[in-house]
Subunit: 246 residues, 2 copies
DNA sequence: CGTTAACTTGATAGCATTCAACTAGCGTGG
DNA sequence: CCACGCTAGTTGAATGCTATCAAGTTAACG
């Protein structure tokens, strides 16, 4: 089931890291992805699973999470179209967390047995995927900093900045805002804050004229101040120079 | 400057993930590592650097950190002999954090120009390094959970469990405890807690008979309860089955 | 239009920070 | 040899950010 070249999420994603040759691009497009539709809040892979395939998010919003003691859950990252949140399963047999959709989504799957020889044949693409997992790691480190050393207000501001830049790079956001269907509960699970406090903090961000949030959408009213509030610096996203951000 | 085979930290490290063939082992030993001594609290690479080499920790204790606003610092990981904390620089040009020793240390360096063709020649070792960076990523995710959803007591317990298992796997710890020269300040920087609170929490852990801590050394008095206190589960370390832990 | 999920608001409680001071250990230099 | 200074660790009190509890409001949806 071929995906169209123009909007191919994997190509766009890799090219946020470096430019592919035409042959490489063709090879990616020729890969036998299996598309599948998901509802909101469906698990894609679960903690302790041993996946035999990798997925790419084509449409929708997903997250990694882990259920902690007392049934609370920690969200460890959000994922947007183009992301391949389980490439790691190529090298790590057992999942140490779960992956789930947050909105109705479309995912493209590729079996490990197809991907492995493909990467052996195209080492530059293999390196690109390695690089992508390294950027993921950099984002996790940033989250450690965010949750570890920032208070609620900058913490949420930083999260919004990250999502905005990542979406813009993938051309999924205009320059004024982006679709972000996370509930306040989910933002709390990601930032380690209670729903109540997320609510109050968002109100403050709105009151300060930094953002406006409608249902499922965040409008950036003052990008400079939002970045300042979140101490945001996009170095950790390791974007290829020349990629459009703002 | 060849390192002895028996205790070669890179080999031992890779073999916590999978077993090397004799030829692969020889090839690793033959690599032209450059050894260098460091004092405590010296930077190895700095935020924004563009490293041209990778390092392996041969002896000592190191950490990744980032300076946050107001001069506070967040430690994002601790590193022990065998760790290669900047392999990522092979694929990510610019450092998004710093790397520093915490104790007097010995490091072995290998230029990117040597490592790159080496990895091209030994794809299994290349995959092992990829895998190792993925485990690093898994540890960061665990830290997000730890800092995001656990209170001081389990948070510190979890950190101690992690360090103990990692050290045991590298045969750097007996079954009763391990050398850990982090100051309470540094533990605070890593867990996002104030020095004062780290101090009080350690006292509680000691008072509950879980650990004993002398200068630079942690003695595990009750491993089962310490794990329970920290909700610790070593899945995220992705150890090769058969590796000795406890 | 009823039902449920998401969001909002107010009040109370608690974990952790901050400030400040004090102790212990250790190396240096007079 | 002891004073001095420095670092790491310890303790107490006060403040504060954030969680929790409880209830009410809005929005979405069949």
């Amino acid at each position: 089931m071929p995906l169209s070249l123009a909007a191919h999420p994997m190509i766009r994603k890799i090219e946020t890291l470096f430019l592919l040759t035409p042959e490489e691009r063709d090879a990616v497009v020729a890969l036998p992805f299996a598309l599948r539709n998901y509802n909101a809040d469906q698990d894609i892979v679960r903690d302790r699973d041993r996946p035999s395939q990798c997925c790419i998010i084509v449409k929708g919003l997903a997250c990694r999470y882990k259920i902690m003691g007392e049934g609370k859950r920690q969200i460890m990252s959000f994922h947007i179209p183009g992301d391949m949140p389980d490439v790691m399963s190529l090298h790590l047999e057992v999942m140490d967390h779960s992956l789930a959709t947050m909105t109705p989504s479309v995912l493209a799957f590729l079996p490990h047995e197809v991907l492995r020889p493909f990467l052996a044949k195209y080492p530059r693409i293999s390196d690109a995927l390695w690089r992508d997992t390294l950027v993921d790691g950099a984002i996790f480190r940033e989250w450690v900093c965010n949750v570890g050393h920032r208070e609620a207000y900058p913490r949420i501001a930083h999260l919004l900045c990250e999502m905005f830049v990542r979406m813009r790079v993938m051309e999924l956001a205009g320059d004024d805002g982006f679709d972000f269907a996370a509930t306040q509960q989910e933002i709390g699970d990601a930032t380690g804050l209670s729903t109540v406090h997320v609510n109050r903090t968002l109100q403050k961000l709105r009151g300060d004229g930094l953002i406006r949030s409608e249902s499922g959408r965040v409008v950036i009213l003052n990008w400079a101040d939002l970045q300042r509030a979140g101490e945001f610096d996009d170095t950790f996203l390791h974007l290829r120079p020349g990629v459009v951000t703002h």
